[in-house]
Symmetry: C2
Subunit: 329 residues, 2 copies
Amino acid sequence: MILPSDMSTLQTLLQILRTHAGDWISGEDLSHELGVTRSAVWKHVSRLRRDGYAITSAPRKGYRLTQTTPLLLPEEIQSGLRTRHFGNRKIVYLETTDSTNTRARELANRGIPEGTLVVAEEQTAGRGRKGRVWHSPEKGGIYLSLILRPKISPLEAPKITLLAGIAAAESILSLADIDVHIKWPNDILIGKRKVAGVLTEIASDLDEVSHVVTGLGINANVREFPAELQDVATSLALEIGRPVDRAALVRAFLERYEHYYTIFLQGRTNTILERWKALSRTLGSRIAVEISGKRITGMARDIERDGSLILETPDGKTHRVFSGDLETV
Amino acid sequence: MILPSDMSTLQTLLQILRTHAGDWISGEDLSHELGVTRSAVWKHVSRLRRDGYAITSAPRKGYRLTQTTPLLLPEEIQSGLRTRHFGNRKIVYLETTDSTNTRARELANRGIPEGTLVVAEEQTAGRGRKGRVWHSPEKGGIYLSLILRPKISPLEAPKITLLAGIAAAESILSLADIDVHIKWPNDILIGKRKVAGVLTEIASDLDEVSHVVTGLGINANVREFPAELQDVATSLALEIGRPVDRAALVRAFLERYEHYYTIFLQGRTNTILERWKALSRTLGSRIAVEISGKRITGMARDIERDGSLILETPDGKTHRVFSGDLETV
């Protein structure tokens, strides 16, 4: 299901039902306010019901919204979204897809503008870094990809992962005061377990990036993990003890991401690095990482302006790590 | 027109006609050798004629190939091609397209294997670096794009432009002893005029490249340039004084490119850098380049292992240039 952008009648209807939430509003009033016939009102209500909204109707009383949809629909995300572009233009909503990043890359190759968001309820081939699987069950996860078109050199692209990591961590913190932190380069952890991950993919020539796709997977209301993931993965619902409002979480992510992206485009890299360091526990800890097939152990000392990690080995030498899997040792 | 890969009868027919070039071969002999009816032979001959091959036919004599096609058809490129993969698998042939790189990127996104070649007789939106136009008239140019899938970090991708530049320069030298040289990063010049250009585009996450598309445009038999290009562009036909065999040039490029690509994958970067330096006149010359919006003048001193250019300014400082337009001053 791809929702068209000219959803104004449906969205206005939803808006009215929301402001009257709990109260009845007559079909005649709705017909007046929307400027459509009463049978058109009925059709739109039916559509909202199919989308998972619980709407009661009764003769002489009209309609009443009793429960919002459990789906992560565009109108849910956009309701109250305070961004200029991110998620505020086109949102492509998919009940299921192979990978939102793959879909977003296809759209980006066709010239779709910056800020376009792809959201899916389920991924059948969700991806992490290095082609790894990202467990993406249809119940309760958040799987989204955002298209960016920064006018930057491909050498600056690694910073985008830092931005997205900050935004993801902060959006989780906006829901609950919880032990969230970033593990370089792209994992969001609660304690020692992964709760979210960022996958940055770029298309570029050697001078300039043509687009960046930021994929974000959040184990929001996921309740169960396969046996092999139980020790390394967790979800917000499991950690907080109640389901979270996925639409609110996506809004918070989009707002924060746009904020830091603007700072990034202004060249204020230090602001970003400081915020990243405050949210990360990687620096100052003893880690092991593979560099060119060799396992190296040392202290994580700093993050460079280009997003690389500075590792100091016991012999006092420093190594620049551009990518890899850190292990705390 | 996309030629299917099961062209064996047509290709065998062409092969036989070629070995008999100038001599007659009877329809009956062809029918025997190909294992098809004489009317099928006639159909295939008609197809070859439509593709631009001049084939004479006469009662009781049979068929005779008098002139090969002026088109850069897959069977022309593959006839005698000595590569393992490059151009030896699928060739997508297009009479006209917007940009072979755009087509190749689409194919690559769909998982098409390494070595797949896209060739067009004309580009309506041929691209150079930074979205610039590459003049791509339908008469006599070579416009091709090759899909590569090296398992490398995106940080190594700039080297691919060096490889392609070497292969392009050497393929031109294989046709004629001519004053060809490379101008960093991606131009092939004869004297001071551009005769070919390389456009490298990558799709990547931050750990690993998913594909590289190498686009190559060669002003092979182009005879006329728009007024604004006459001082900066030239063609092989204009420089050598006769039309060149475009299929032979493409074969030479593919063979050399595959050769240096293999060396690159083996990690023998020094071999590549040495060859690049021998073919370039950039090093040791006084150049100007824009770095972060600032024009800097100095001596081009060296090429780093990552493909970047080392520029020494009069104050003795060295600058690393990752991309840009050099101007000899």
